[in-house]
């Protein structure tokens, strides 16, 4: 960047160093970090699913043991917390996705709300569909 010439009062620009806790100074920054950390819950669910598939492949007994293990309070709590973060991911994702789509291309004819609503609608269909498909015994 530019070189400043020396004068009688030597000019020194003051630079503040960004604190390690910058994300705790503003509510908006904090929520942003929470949103980013949801990726950990997403990764966790992949691991969970792989464990489930692994148990399934090993036969009915091992699978039953896995199901039992899932009933432990620790696992239930872990999954409940993860569900919160995974939901937070989904909601923030659907709310932000329309901003990336150049639906404004044709003179803003497609409002953000329509894209968000379609996303939530599709999500509802998929979710309810899966519940109907996978439960009932």
């Amino acid at each position: 960047m530019s070189q400043t010439a020396h004068t009688a009062h030597h000019p020194r620009w003051y630079r503040t160093r960004v604190s390690t806790y910058w994300w705790s100074r503003k509510w908006a920054y904090f929520l942003f970090i929470v949103r980013e950390l949801t990726s950990l819950a997403v990764a966790y669910f992949v691991v969970f699913t792989l464990m489930q598939i692994h148990a399934l492949r090993q036969g009915a007994e091992v699978y039953a043991e896995f199901q039992e293990w899932l009933r432990r309070p620790l696992l239930i709590s872990l999954n409940a917390i993860s569900l919160f973060f995974v939901l937070y991911h989904a909601i923030t994702w659907f709310n932000l996705a329309p901003r990336a789509i150049s639906a404004r291309f044709r003179g803003k004819r497609i409002p953000d709300l329509l894209i968000t609503a379609s996303n939530y609608g599709a999500w509802l269909v998929v979710s309810l569909g899966l519940v109907w498909l996978l439960s009932g015994g």
């Binding site: 960004v18 980013e36 990764a43 199901q67 989904a90 899966l130």
Partner: protein, 117 residues
Amino acid sequence: MTKRSNEPFLWFLFSAGGVVAAFLMPVLLFLNGLAFPLGWLTPFGYEKTLDLVKHPITRLLLFVMCSLPLFHWAHRFRFTLYDGLQIKHLNEVISFLSYGGAIVGTALAGYLLWNIP
């Protein structure tokens, strides 16, 4: 002419993973992690579950669901470490561990889903 970055491809994986995770994970985590273990809903028995998972479409869906979201995590977590902990100078290590982890996970998913006895 400066070389164009390959970040677009990584961002594409991140986005695809984000979409898959947003659509599928809430309900599946709810069912498999809470509703079934707590008895709110009844799951399929072992045989029926096995049959369902063996189906090629299910296996493909599960593979996609276990692969793309890992790349979503890798990309997002990498930037969270840069900005949150200010360790951007370790970017080579971070990239190796995060995308590397995603590749390992993908390979594992592929192995588990390729052949179900």
